[in-house]
Amino acid sequence: MSSEDPSPLVTIAGWVVVTAFLALIASTTAPFGAFLGDTQYAVVSTVHGMLATLGVIIGTVATYLGWRLFTGKIRAFTDLRILSVLSALIATGTVLFGNWIYVAYRATGGPREFFLKNNPEIHEIFFEFKEFIALFTIPLSIAAAFIIWRYKDQVIGDRPLRTWVFIAIMIAWTALMIAFLLGAGITKVRSV
C-alpha cells in the first residue's frame, strides 16, 4: 500500500457520509410510505419483516462460522461470538413483533378468517407450523451464544461440545429459514 492510499477509516467515513446523503435525499423525496400500506399494523409488520430479513443474513453468516467451528478450522471466533449474540437478539425481537401482528392475523376479518374460509390448509398446516417453529430460534440461539461466551476458546478445542453447539445453531438456522419462507409465502397470499 502506498502512502497516498486513503486509510480504511477515511474510506469508511467517506462511504458513510455519501450513503447518508443519498439516503436523506431518497427518504425526503420518494413515497416510501406507499410500500407500508395504510393498515394499523403497517409499521409493526414492516419492522417484523425487516428484523426477520436481518436475522436471515446474520444467522446465515453465524451458521457458516458455526460450521467452521465444527470443522475445527475457525479463525474468526470473535466474529462468531458477536454474531451469536446478535442472532439471539434479532430472533427475540422478530418473535416479539410477530406476536404483535399475530393479534391482527387472528382478528375478525383478518388473514386467519380468510384462509379458514378459502384455503384452511394454509392456516392449519403452514401458518400454525410457522408460528411455532419461529419460537425454536430463541432458546437455541441463546443457548449457543451462552456456551460460546461462557466457554470462550475452550469450545474450539472441545470437539464433542463444538459439535453440539453447531447442531443447535444449525437447527435454529433451519427453523429461522422455514419461518421466514413460510411468512413470506403467506404474506404474499394475504397480509395483515
Binding site: E131, L135, I167
Partner: protein, 117 residues
C-alpha cells in the same frame, strides 16, 4: 498462563433446557388440539401476564409454557451440573430426539395422526 478448564455441565444444562422448553410447548400445543377445556386453561395462563393475550389466543399460554419450563429447567440443571464433566453422547442424543419430537408436535398432520383425527 494456563486457564483452568471449565466443566461442560453448564453447556449441557443450557442446551437440554432449550429442548425441554420446546418439547413442553409441543406437548401443550398437542394437548390444546385434543381438548377444548385444556385449550381454554392454556389461554388463561397466557392471560395471566401477556398483554392482549385474548388477541393471541392459546398461543400466549403455549409461549408461557415454553418460557417457564425453559428458564426453570435451565436454572435447575445449571446448579445440578455446573461442576460436572459429563460424556456428551447421551445428552446430545436426548437433545436431538427431543427437539425432533418437539418439531413433530407442532406439525398439524402429525398431531392429527397421533390424535386419530
Amino acid at each position: 498462563m494456563m486457564t483452568e478448564r471449565r466443566p461442560n455441565g453448564e453447556a449441557v444444562a443450557a442446551l437440554l433446557s432449550a429442548m425441554i422448553g420446546l418439547l413442553t410447548m409441543g406437548l401443550v400445543h398437542t394437548g390444546t388440539d385434543a381438548s377444548k377445556d385444556f385449550s381454554t386453561w392454556v389461554l388463561s395462563v397466557g392471560k395471566a401476564w401477556i398483554p392482549n393475550a385474548q388477541g393471541l389466543g392459546p398461543y400466549s399460554g403455549k409461549e408461557t409454557f415454553l418460557l417457564v419450563t425453559w428458564i426453570l429447567s435451565w436454572v435447575i440443571l445449571h446448579f445440578v451440573l455446573r461442576k460436572k464433566d459429563v460424556r456428551l453422547t447421551v445428552p446430545v442424543i436426548i437433545f436431538v430426539v427431543g427437539t425432533a419430537l418437539a418439531t413433530l408436535l407442532v406439525y398439524t398432520p402429525f398431531i392429527e395422526f397421533i390424535l386419530g383425527k
